[in-house]
Amino acid sequence: MNHDLSRLPDIIGRYPRSPQSLIAVLQDIQRDYHFLPCEALKETAKALQVPLSKVFSVSTFYNAFSLYPRGERVIRICTGTTCHIRGAKLIQYQLEDKLSIKAGQTTPDLKFTLEVVNCVGACAMAPVVIVNGKYFGSVKVSDSKKLLRGSKDAR
């Protein structure tokens, strides 16, 4: 796959060229490209002088990194304990059904990515769903269509 790698030198240049910067650089690449393109991993390894195997190891260890392209709209369902006992699974089933994908997958048209996340610390509003960074609290099963549109009126 070919990706526009012209933004890479700028991202890598934000941090000192040392192995210590690895996670920070990968986080910025992830934020910019919404995933870690293979070529970007190679470039990072070269620039920070760490073995490619280590770059790969770090990118697969942390949940924040994805090696596959993600959708335009990333829907994250909180499955922390409180959300779990207040019905997060139900919301997950509904969204999986509506999008015909499982949590962790992206729709073939790259419109939606569905993810589960272990607690976002908004437990008082459980169950919580985050759509492109926007928090929706006290989500009900009947809200799933609205969540796909990315808008749900506050309570």
Binding site: V58, I85, N118, A124, A154
Partner: protein
């Protein structure tokens, strides 16, 4: 502006304090995670837009404060009007104009926005009179909801950084360590290690340089105290860290923040920049010879990185795998150098200890667990939110007096403390005082402070399975007993919830649990079986109901339940039909619906959407 001396700091504090009390009225709008999720940002912008146009006499736009979490998240978005402390709940953008007209302009209280006590339905006008707040004692959360989370001037107006000035000018590093030791402060991240002893060891370590790290990787699901402090009162954490750095002789500190907390990263960075501008961080702090700077290190979404040695590897840009503890991280920590690692809440307590003295702090709480502890009280409880109580308060006082009892008056079943490393305590343990030692003896643990209340509709087998799945996913994979043991425990728990287990399976799980505990290196594996062990200890009957009778008493485990329409209650509204993902429900508008048990996958969506309670679970 650089603050050149402690005297200069005192003058600034006075000037900012005078400015604060000069505001005839102040609006404190909660912008904590809970209130933001229910629309607080819209309320802030509406207040700003309207007040810009209206030019109220005696009201300054600067008196609109976007504060951190007030605590009573369930009732959000919250707006408090100071100095009277009028407390409005569930505020919507449409109420903004009324609040300006009535309360700001004419001093009239809007009764429908006031908080009602759950039992008496009594309307409470003032913040301080609400049971939820009146019964708390706030030290670590002292500024939350009271100051703007974006403005160092608000922190200074409250006397902020005076503990730093006191430490730098009137105390030696040894005196600081001894004051913290006297206070009896123990690490608030869960392990409860005496903070003073940790600082003393690092201070005396010969190798240089020394590092200070603040652990903001609050990974326990159901806990958000540290998030609230980092977002709502970041300077108290910074002040605690700077004092620690001076005491242990460190020039560089790190704050490790979870990837899931972007707002905490943003607010901490803002606070670091502001403190640096004022000369409270960086070179020659407050005109002294002492220099210290702080960098933020963002986590990558790995639970195990809350463990000290894994966290330090992650800060160094590596995979976060824990290492053996025979070499202590306080001697060989970050980059193999002496390192003090404390939790957010621990650091937030430090300025108070320095200002008021360790002895005064030690008077609060219990003998071996001094001071207070912040908890996030969540789950099936009426007043969910953030609280802080003296150590030794009983679980019953927390859940019933502060929490207002169980949601919808259902029966209490258990309270889960300590996150995935903790356990569930039943009703018979409700009168236990909450402190480090008592909870551990009862089979749970204090942990970082998540307190999740569950009612009779929560299945303990499902809950244990949930935690095992969580840990299985988060285990770093280094130790075989943890990696494979948790996998087998989860497999067996699934067997129970599927109704396919036998009684020997339960014995096998207990044996395996002890092996995982003995054979794992770090806290994740060592305490991983706790949720299972504590539930089987206190709720064995419920496990046996799944195994012997193939029945889930709470109506949760999908393989053992069925959903039916109660014909007398169904009004044929079609809601369940459109909610059913597998098209198992049939019926026409106005006619009683029916569920095809062959097709039904027991997801419970119909039960959740039915407003007439016409779907029953058996």
């Amino acid at each position: 502006m650089r603050v050149e001396s402690p005297r200069h700091l005192a003058e600034l504090q006075q000037a900012f304090h005078a400015r604060e009390i000069g505001f005839a009225k102040k609006l404190h709008i909660c912008c904590g995670p809970g209130c933001l999720a229910s629309g607080a940002a819209d309320i802030v912008s509406k207040f700003k837009a309207l007040l810009k146009k209206r030019h109220l006499t005696d009201f300054s736009l600067e008196a609109i404060k976007e504060t951190g979490c007030h605590g009573l998240c369930e009732q959000g978005p919250l707006v408090v009007i100071e100095p009277d402390g009028i407390f409005y709940t569930k505020v919507k953008p449409k109420h903004v104009e009324t609040i300006i007209d009535s309360t700001l302009e004419r001093n009239e209280v809007i009764s429908e926005l006031l908080y009602r006590e759950p039992h008496s339905q009594r309307c409470v006008e003032h913040y301080r009179d609400i049971d939820f707040y009146a019964r708390q004692h706030r030290i670590a959360l002292r500024h939350l909801g009271r100051i703007s989370q974006y403005d160092i001037r608000d922190y200074l107006a409250q006397g902020g950084y005076s503990a730093l000035a006191k430490a730098l000018t009137t105390m030696t590093p040894d005196q600081i360590v001894s004051e913290v030791t006297t206070s009896g402060l123990r690490g608030r991240g869960g392990a409860g290690f005496p903070t003073g002893r940790k600082w003393a060891t690092c201070r005396n370590a010969e190798e240089q340089p020394h590092y200070v790290i603040c652990n903001g990787d609050e990974g326990d699901p159901g806990a958000f105290m540290d998030r609230a402090i980092m977002e709502g009162d970041p300077h108290s954490v910074l002040e605690g860290m700077i004092i620690c750095a001076f005491a242990v002789g460190s020039a560089q500190g790190y704050i490790y923040v979870r990837e899931e907390y972007p707002l905490a990263v943003q607010n901490l960075q803002l606070a670091i920049d502001q403190a640096s501008d004022y000369g409270l961080l960086g070179d020659n702090i407050l005109g002294s010879d002492f220099s210290f700077s702080i960098k933020i290190s963002r986590g990558g979404g790995a639970f195990v990185c809350g463990e000290s040695s894994a966290l330090m590897k992650s800060v160094a840009g590596d995979v976060g795998e824990p290492r053996a503890k025979y070499v202590r991280s306080v001697l060989k920590g970050l980059f193999d150098r002496p390192t003090v690692l404390n939790n957010v809440e621990t650091f937030a307590n430090v300025p108070v200890i320095i200002n008021q003295g360790g002895e005064r702090f030690a008077e609060l709480g219990m003998k071996k667990s001094t001071g207070t502890k912040a908890f996030s009280l969540v789950g099936k409880v009426r007043n969910t939110g953030l609280i802080e109580v003296p150590m030794g308060t009983t679980l019953r006082q927390i859940i019933y007096d502060i929490g207002g009892g169980i949601l919808n008056d259902r029966p209490f079943k258990a309270v889960q403390t300590g996150g995935p490393s903790g356990g569930c305590l039943p009703e018979s343990k409700l009168d236990l005082p909450v402190d480090f030692n008592t909870l551990t003896e009862a089979g749970s643990m204090m942990g970082s402070g998540g307190m999740i209340v569950v009612d009779d509709r929560t299945c303990v087998v499902d809950l244990a399975k949930y935690f095992l799945a969580f840990l299985l996913d988060e285990s770093c994979g280094k130790c075989t007993p943890c990696r494979e043991g948790l996998y087998q425990l989860h497999r067996l728990a699934t067997k129970i919830s599927d109704g396919e287990a036998t009684e020997p399976d339960l014995d096998k799980m207990e044996q395996l649990s002890h092996m995982v505990i003995i054979g794992s290196l770090c806290g994740l594996g060592k305490s991983g079986p706790n949720p299972f062990l504590s539930t089987v200890q206190y709720f064995r009957d419920e496990y046996l109901a799944h195994i012997r009778e193939k029945r889930c008493p709470a109506g949760v485990c999908r393989a053992l339940i069925r959903y039916d329409v109660i014909a007398e209650k169904c009004d044929g509204c079609l809601a369940c039909i459109s909610a059913c993902a597998v098209h198992a429900i049939t019926g026409k508008k106005g006619q009683v619906h029916a569920i095809d048990q062959e097709l039904c996958d027991k997801c419970g969506a119909c039960h959740a959407v039915c407003t007439r309670h016409a779907i029953e679970v058996t």
